[in-house]
């Protein structure tokens, strides 16, 4: 089981209650962004590009608790920025745990080991550590040599101290499925409870605008990674969402499934795409033109999106939407190996994009040389 039974039960009863009351659009996870500043500057991240006066702002614990009450989800993810840079993060987490919310505190773990004593292990709290692959892949993805070793030290310290630890891996073009599978082995050996994996989103503001996976390549990549699964791997994602990543299921985006609250307010429409802000959750739900979003809407900003914040809730909805959905999910849980000879062939024949010391990156050619200044 990838999540504790109590959590699975809480989520299932919440979803069924929404269905029974006839609510068509309901959120599943609140993405609470209490700050935007970070101690990394990752190439694929479009979240931290703001003027200094914005990066210095924090949501207060009260702001966070009000947002949680307003939207009422059973789960709260705390991304950012880096939440551990927020001076009142322990208070925020403790307040959410006291409200019996299942909290995923998303962190790059650079500060996890030194701040661990500020938190208390609880079934309601999981550190969701961002690790983008094996050492070289992760270091290059976060643009920091040594980043992987520090993050994994944080993971091991948290596991040892009795915390729930999950991981979150984002893949871009150039990812090597064999390496990702070896990465899963390493994470499970380190004692993580479960793992999440997702393709990166095409953030307009990300420094790297050339390595965004298109849907076709995402499906190939995820089919080769997630087929022929090892028994030891545990994932904390809806089995149907994972089938969607593997190209085995069509899902439509549920942009309201993981609403985002930050210093700007409630983000329209989703965690990834910024198309304005509402001052209350109710206003967000009532004033957003939801039909403008999702791949099928033709909106170019949604065209290649397969990210969990849009489609995980779709997977959960599919599960609880019909008996067929429930049966398929049960089958996916109990027969989760996904044996697939074609996928094995894909995996065996996959050529890493580059074979330079840092696997994702070839040494620069003269043509690529650029005089742009970079804060390296």
């Amino acid at each position: 089981m990838a999540v504790p039974v109590s959590q699975a039960w809480t989520v299932a009863t919440y979803v069924l209650k929404q269905k029974l009351t006839g609510r068509k659009k309901y959120p599943l996870v609140l993405m609470l962004e209490p700050l935007f500043r970070c101690n990394l500057a990752c190439a694929g991240c479009g979240k931290i590009q703001y003027p200094a006066h914005i990066l210095k702002q924090d949501l207060s614990p009260e702001d966070c608790f009000n947002a949680v009450e307003e939207c009422g989800t059973p789960m709260v993810a705390i991304p950012g920025g880096e939440p551990l840079l927020h001076p009142q993060m322990p208070e925020i987490v403790a307040g959410l745990v006291a409200r019996k919310k299942y909290v995923y505190m998303c962190t790059n773990a650079l500060l996890l080991k030194e701040k661990l004593h500020l938190f208390k292990p609880s079934k309601y709290l999981s550190f969701s550590v961002h690790v983008d692959g094996q050492r070289e892949h992760h270091d290059f993805s976060v643009c920091r040599e040594g980043g992987y070793d520090i993050a994994m030290e944080g993971v091991r310290a948290a596991v040892e101290a009795g915390f729930r630890v999950t991981t979150n891996t984002t893949l871009f073009d150039g990812a090597d499925p064999n390496s990702v599978r070896a990465h899963f082995d390493e994470l499970m050996t380190a004692g993580v409870e479960s793992m999440m994996v997702s393709p990166g989103y095409t953030y307009d503001k990300a420094p790297d605008q050339k390595h965004f996976l298109g849907r076709a390549r995402s499906k190939k990549l995820f089919r080769s990674i997630l087929s022929n699964r090892k028994k030891t791997w545990r994932f904390n994602a809806s089995p149907i969402f994972m089938e969607f990543l593997m190209g085995k299921k069509d899902l439509k985006c549920t942009p309201w499934g993981m609403p985002t609250f930050s210093i700007f307010g409630w983000q329209k429409p989703c965690y990834l795409l910024q198309d304005g802000y509402a001052d209350s959750f109710k206003e967000l739900m009532e004033t957003t033109e939801w039909s403008n979003y999702g791949t099928e809407s033709g909106n170019p900003q949604c065209a290649n999106c397969m990210v969990h914040s849009g489609y995980e809730a779709s997977g959960v909805n599919y599960t609880f939407g019909s008996l067929k959905g429930l049966m398929q999910t049960a089958k996916a849980i109990f027969f989760s190996k996904y044996e697939d000879d074609g996928a094995m062939k894909l995996l065996n024949e996959w050529k890493p994009a580059h074979s330079a010391p840092l696997v994702q990156i070839a040494s620069p050619t003269a043509a690529e040389k650029s005089s742009e200044l970079q804060g390296v």
């Binding site: 190439a43 200094a52 403008n292 900003q301």
Partner: protein, 148 residues
């Protein structure tokens, strides 16, 4: 929403390919907006300029028709049927309050703050990385911006 110019690479890709058949998704060409002072002569120009200001990741300075100025981060815009019922929302650089300014009250707009998303291409980082590696440096990294 982003303007069509900003989204041109993605629109061109989608004109020829089904999203489910795209291998590598197009990114966005960077527009240089820092320092730009748009003409706001027509309603269309006002709307386009404020859409770009909404997309811009630096501070802007708005001069109202009464001569007062607001300088800060334009984090939202609400586009209504007329300029009177359309407004932008700004967090001024010196305070935390959110200020609303109606499109109809805007006399001038300037992209005065540094574009925090500009000049940080991945290629530049890769080149710099290899230079530092060749020089024998260890623990090479892109540092986040200093905030003070």
């Amino acid at each position: 929403m982003a303007t069509e110019t900003q989204e041109s690479a993605k629109l061109a890709q989608l004109a020829h390919e089904n999203p489910d058949e795209i291998e590598v998704a197009a990114g966005r060409e960077r527009e240089v907006l820092e320092g730009w002072v748009p003409d706001l002569a027509s309603e269309a120009e006002v709307r386009e300029a404020l859409e770009k200001a909404f997309d811009y990741r630096g501070d802007v300075t708005i001069t109202r028709k009464d001569g007062s100025k607001v300088e800060g981060y334009l984090f939202d815009r609400r586009s209504g049927a007329s300029l009177n019922d359309s407004f932008v929302r700004v967090i001024p650089s010196a305070t935390r309050e959110k200020v609303n300014v109606a499109y109809a009250d805007i006399a001038a707009l300037a992209f005065t703050g540094r574009d925090t998303a500009a000049g940080k291409t991945f290629e530049a980082w890769v080149n710099k990385y290899w230079e530092k590696k060749a020089a024998g440096e260890k623990n090479i990294q892109i540092e986040p911006e200093k905030l003070d």
